[in-house]
Point group: C2
Chain length 591, copies 2
C-alpha cells in the first residue's frame, strides 16, 4: 500500500558477517522494523538487529501474532521480516506465513537454527523432533513459501566455486536469491540461520540488484515489441467499446501500481470496481467507482456493470471462492484485458514480458481523452443512503444495519482500517471507504484473529501516524487478544471495536445455527484494556443501544495516544446481508 | 499417566458412516473428549461428535491451544483427538502436534478438508493457498506425524480390492492404519476428512484390533525364546551387582508401565531415579528414590549414584540435550539394561521382541528377594531440608529459593501439577513431588505457554477431579493466556501461579541479560481472571513478600470450583540453581 523506500547502503562490498549482510539487505529494501519472539537459537541474531542503526526489534506475545504483524507491516511497507526460533517458534508462525503466501504478501521469515555441527551430527536438541533430522521444519515451510535456504558457512571453496552447480552457494548469494524472489513474487520466503553463522564472515555480494526494485526490472525485462503488440491489441478492443470498467484485485496493490491505476482511471474517466481483496486500492469516492464486485454474491448493480461492460481491464486478478462469490464471477475472456504481474492477456491472447505497471502506463495513453460514458456509472451505492438510520431512537437495541450506518459517518479520510473475516469484514462492505483509507483484511486466506496483530504491524509500517480502527468479532479476538498488550507497549492507539455476538456467528450462518460448538467462552471485555496494560484514561465502553454507540464513538474518535475499546453487543443471528449472500453462493458451489 | 479404558463397541460391523466409524473407534480406545476449534470444513463432523453418546466437544480459543490441550489430555488418558479446519486451523495447531511428536504423545489430528471434487478440480477455495494443490498441509504434517491419510470415498471397487496394492484402501482401513500407529507408536497421526465424506457410507471394519491394545500385542508379538534369552543375560548382570538403579524416562509412562515399574522397584528394593521428562512416573517418596538425573546438570549425588551403579535398568530412555544435561549423561553400555518399547538391549546385546512391559515383569522375578543395598540410597535430597526458609520474616522480599521451599509445603498427594519450561519447571526440580502427583510439562520440545492449555486437557483427561496447580512464567503465560477462558468455561478450578519476573528470564540466563528483546509487554495480571470470565469470588492476589505469598497460598489452597490466580513478583535475574546448571552444561555442548 506504500512505495518501497530504497536506501543504497555502502557496506556490502568485501567481507562482513552473515547477520550484518542480511540486515543491511533488509534495510536497503525498506525494512525498518523486524517482528518476532526471542528464542535461544536466535538471540545472537537479535543482538545484530539491536546493533543495526536502521532496524528496530518489535517483540510480540507469540509467534503467530508476530507473523500476522509482519504481514500487516508488509502490506503497508512493501516488505517485512519475521524472526523466530527453531521448531517451536517457526511452527507457531506457519499459519501466518501461509496466509502471506495465499494473499501474496512479501515476508522474509528468518529462523534461528542449531549450530551447523549440531545439525550435521544429528544431535537430539530441544525444539527438535529428537530423531536426528533438522530438516523437518524447512520442508514444512517449503509448502508455504516461494523460496528457502538453510545457510552454510562461506569458505574459500564456496567463494571459488559458488557458480558451479555441485557446491553450496555463498551465504550472500543464498540470501539474495531468497530475498529477490520474495520481493519480486510477493510471497514469503524462508532463511534458516544456524547459531554459529550469525557472526561468521560473509563474502562479498555478487551483484547489486536492489536498485532494480524501483524499476520493476526484477520482474523480467520488458521486450519493447511485446509492449507495442499489447498496445495495438488493447487499443483495438478499447476503441470500439462504449463501457470500459477497470476491475482491481489485490495483486495490483502488492505490485505497487496505485499511482498508475489512478492515472488510468482519471485519463479515461473510466468506471472502476474492486474485488473484496483490493478494497482501498482505488479511491471509493472517485466518480465512476461502482462498488465491490463479488459476482452473484455482491450487489446486482455492480455485477451488471462489470459483467456487462464492453471491455474489462482487470488488474492483478487472482480470484478465490470468496472473492468470486462462489465462482459466480463471469468475465468474458474475449472482452478482457487481464493485466498480471509479469504479462498481460488481451482478449485471450497472451502478451509475454508486459508487466502490470508498463501495461497500465501504456493503456493510460490509449484511453486519454475519453469522456465519461453516459451509463458507465449507474447510481449504485455500496451503502444505504447516508443517515437512513438517523431517526432511530437512542434507546433502540443495536443491529448490524444501524452499526454500519453509524460507521459510515464515523470513518474519516486516511483512516487505517482493519476488519476481521466474518461479520466485521462483510458488514463493512456496506460502507464506502473514505478517500485515502487503507483496509487491512484477509478475505482469501480468512484466518480469524489475524487483524489485531496485523494492525500492530500496519501501524508501524505506515509512513505517518494515522487514526486506526479495528473491527473484529468476539470469537476472532479471542484467538489473538494478547497482542493488544503489544499494541499498548508500542504506544499505539487504535480504536478497537469488538462485535460481541456471543460466538462464531459466521459459522452459525454456514451450519450449526444453534450448535454449542459455535459458542465460545464468555469474556468480560471491559477488563481487556486493563489486563493488557492500557492507561486508566483509555475509553472503554460496552454498548447495547444506539445512543450508547453514538456516545462511545464520540468519546473515542480522537484517540490521543490511548487504545480505546468499544464492545458492541449484537444479536447472535444478526448477519450483514453481504455475508448471507456470500454463504449462499459458496454453498451453491458445492464446497 | 493413566491406563486406557477399553469399551468394546458393537456397532462396527457392516455399513456405517465414515464419521461414525471414526468416532466409534476413538470411543473404543478410550477417548471421551475431543478438542478443537470449529471451521466451515469441519462443521458437519462436529455434528457427528455432538450426536455421539460417548464423546464431548471441547472448544478452545484457538487451535494451538487445542493442540496443547489434546496433548495434556493424552498424557492422562492415553489418547486424544484434535479437530481443526483446513489450512488456517490445522497450521495453527502444528507446533502443538510437533510437540506431541517430540515427546511421544498419541494425538489423532482430524482435519476438515474441502470436498473431494473441489480438491480434484483444484478450485481456489478459502483457507487454501489458491494454487490448485490441496496437498500442501498434509505434506507439512507428514514431517511431524507418524502416519497420515486423506480419506477417500468407499466404493464397491475399494471394498473388493482393498487388499491389493494399487487401489485405495477403504476409509475404515485407512482410519485403522493411522489410529493403530498412533496408539502403538505413541506419536501423533493425521486424518484429512473431506466435507463430502463425513456422512458417506463406510464399509465394515476389516479386523478387530482394539482388544490387542490391552495386551500390548500391537507392539509386535513376543517371541518366548527372546524373552528367556533376555532373562538369562539380565540375571547374569544383576546377580553379580551390588548396586542396581532403575532409571526411568518418559517412554515408560507413555507405554503405561507404571504398575510394572512399581512392582520391580519394590520386589528388589531397588534404588530409582527419573529423568526430568519422567517426573511423577516413579513415586518420589518411595524409599530408595534418588532424585532427578540430569547428568552433570543435575545434583552430584544423583549423578554419582546412577553412573556409579553396577547395573542401570533404564526404562523408556530417549534423552535430549536438556534431559541429559548437554549430553553429559554417561551410562556404560556394558552395565546397562536398556528397556525400550519393543525390544531390550542387555549389556550391549539386543533382544528383539521383548517389550518394555514384558521385560519389567520378567526382571521383577529376577530381582525378587534382594535386600536394600547398604549404599544404594545415599541421603541425597532433591530439595532443601523442609522448612529451611521457615524463619524468613514475613516482610522479606520473595526469592526463587523461598518460593520453592513454600511450594514443597503447599503441594499435596495426588495434585495434578503443570510447570512451564523455564524458571517454573526448573525451579520445581528442587521440590520432591508428593505421592500420586502427576506433572504436566514439556521439557524436551520446550514450547513455552504449553502448560496452561495442556492443563485444561489434563484435568478433563484425569479419571477423577484432582486439585490442579499451574506454575508458569509471565512470558510463557502471555503466549496462551486466553485459554484461561476455556478453563473457566469448563468449570475447572486450577490454582494458577504466575512467576512474574518481567520478561523471558530463561533467555536472560542464556544470552542478552539486559537486552530489551528479552522484555515483554507489561500486563496487569490482576485483571486476568475477570477478563476471562472468572467469578468475582475467585482468589486473585499479587504477592511481593513472603507473608503475602503465605496468605495467598492459604487462601487458594481449596479452590472450591473457582480458578485462583497468584502473581508472584520475582527478580528478573533470580534464577533457580537447576536452570543455571542446565544453561552452563548445554552451552558447553556447543549448541
Amino acid at each position: 500500500m506504500a512505495t518501497r523506500r530504497s536506501d543504497p547502503h555502502p557496506s556490502l562490498d568485501g567481507i562482513t558477517t552473515i547477520a550484518k549482510y542480511l540486515l543491511d539487505r533488509l534495510a536497503q529494501v525498506g525494512v525498518r522494523h523486524i517482528f518476532g519472539v526471542p528464542g535461544d537459537y536466535s538471540l545472537l541474531f537479535l543482538d545484530a538487529i539491536d546493533a543495526h542503526p536502521d532496524l528496530e526489534w518489535v517483540g510480540t506475545a507469540n509467534e503467530l501474532n508476530a507473523a500476522y504483524a509482519a504481514d500487516g507491516y508488509a502490506r503497508m511497507n512493501g516488505l517485512a521480516a519475521l524472526v523466530t526460533t527453531y521448531g517451536v517458534g517457526e511452527l507457531s508462525a506457519i499459519n501466518g506465513v501461509a496466509g502471506s503466501y495465499a494473499e501474496h504478501v512479501p515476508v522474509l521469515h528468518i529462523v534461528g537454527m542449531p549450530a551447523t555441527d549440531v545439525q550435521r551430527q544429528g544431535l537430539h536438541v530441544h525444539h527438535g523432533l529428537l530423531d536426528g533430522d533438522s530438516g523437518h521444519f524447512v520442508r514444512a515451510f517449503d509448502e508455504v513459501t516461494c523460496a528457502s535456504a538453510t545457510l552454510t558457512a562461506d569458505t574459500a571453496d564456496t567463494a571459488d566455486t559458488a557458480d558451479t552447480a555441485d557446491t553450496a552457494d555463498t551465504a550472500a548469494a543464498e540470501i539474495d536469491r531468497v530475498l529477490r524472489r520474495v520481493v519480486s513474487e510477493k510471497e514469503p520466503g524462508y532463511l534458516g540461520l544456524p547459531t554459529d553463522l550469525v557472526h561468521a564472515p560473509c563474502l562479498a555480494a555478487e551483484e547489486e540488484w536492489v536498485a532494480d526494485l524501483a524499476t520493476g526490472a526484477l520482474l523480467g525485462s520488458e521486450a519493447e515489441p511485446a509492449l507495442s503488440g499489447f498496445v495495438e491489441r488493447a487499443a483495438e478492443l478499447i476503441d470500439g467499446a462504449t463501457r470500459v470498467v477497470v476491475l482491481v484485485d489485490h495483486l495490483a496493490d502488492r505490485h505497487h501500481v496505485r499511482a498508475e491505476l489512478d492515472a488510468l482511471i482519471r485519463a479515461g474517466h473510466l468506471a472502476s470496481a474492486t474485488t473484496k481483496a483490493a478494497r482501498g486500492t482505488v479511491d471509493e469516492t472517485t466518480p465512476g467507482f461502482l462498488g465491490v464486485y463479488v459476482g452473484a454474491a455482491g450487489e446486482d448493480g455492480v455485477r451488471a456493470a462489470v459483467e456487462g461492460a464492453d471491455v474489462v481491464i482487470a488488474v492483478g486478478l487472482h480470484l478465490s471462492d470468496l472473492s468470486s462469490g462462489g465462482f459466480t464471477a463471469t468475465l468474458d475472456p474475449g472482452r478482457l484485458l487481464d493485466l498480471r504481474p509479469t504479462h498481460a492477456v488481451v482478449g485471450g491472447v497472451p502478451c509475454r514480458g508486459v508487466t502490470m505497471a508498463a501495461a497500465l502506463s501504456a493503456l493510460t495513453a490509449v484511453v486519454a481523452g475519453r469522456g465519461p460514458a453516459a451509463d458507465d456509472a449507474p447510481a449504485c451505492s455500496s451503502r444505504p443512503a447516508r443517515g437512513a438510520q438517523a431517526s432511530v431512537p437512542a434507546d433502540a437495541e443495536l443491529t448490524q444495519a444501524i452499526l454500519w450506518d453509524r460507521f459510515a459517518d464515523f470513518l474519516r479520510p486516511d483512516d487505517l482500517l482493519a476488519a476481521d473475516q466474518g461479520t466485521a469484514f462483510e458488514g463493512l462492505l456496506a460502507v464506502r471507504l473514505p478517500r485515502g483509507a487503507d483496509l487491512i483484511a484477509q478475505p482469501l486466506w480468512a484466518s480469524i484473529g489475524y487483524t489485531l496483530p496485523a494492525l500492530l504491524g500496519a501501524q508501524l509500517g505506515a509512513s505517518a501516524h494515522r487514526r486506526a480502527v479495528l473491527l473484529i468479532g468476539d470469537g476472532a479476538l479471542q484467538m489473538t487478544a494478547q497482542e493488544l498488550g503489544g499494541i499498548i507497549a508500542q504506544g499505539l492507539d487504535p480504536i478497537v471495536v469488538v462485535l460481541n455476538n456471543d460466538g462464531y456467528t459466521v459459522e452459525r450462518v454456514i451450519h450449526g445455527r444453534d450448535a454449542h460448538y459455535n459458542g465460545i467462552a464468555r469474556w468480560n471485555w471491559s477488563a481487556c484494556p486493563s489486563l493488557f496494560g492500557a492507561s486508566p484514561d483509555a475509553v472503554v465502553r460496552r454498548v447495547t443501544t444506539v445512543g450508547e454507540l453514538d456516545d462511545a464513538l464520540a468519546a473515542c474518535a480522537e484517540p490521543a495516544g490511548n487504545v480505546s475499546l468499544v464492545e458492541v453487543v449484537l444479536g447472535q443471528y444478526d448477519v450483514p446481508p453481504a455475508l448471507s449472500r456470500l454463504v449462499r453462493t459458496v454453498a451453491a458451489a458445492g464446497e
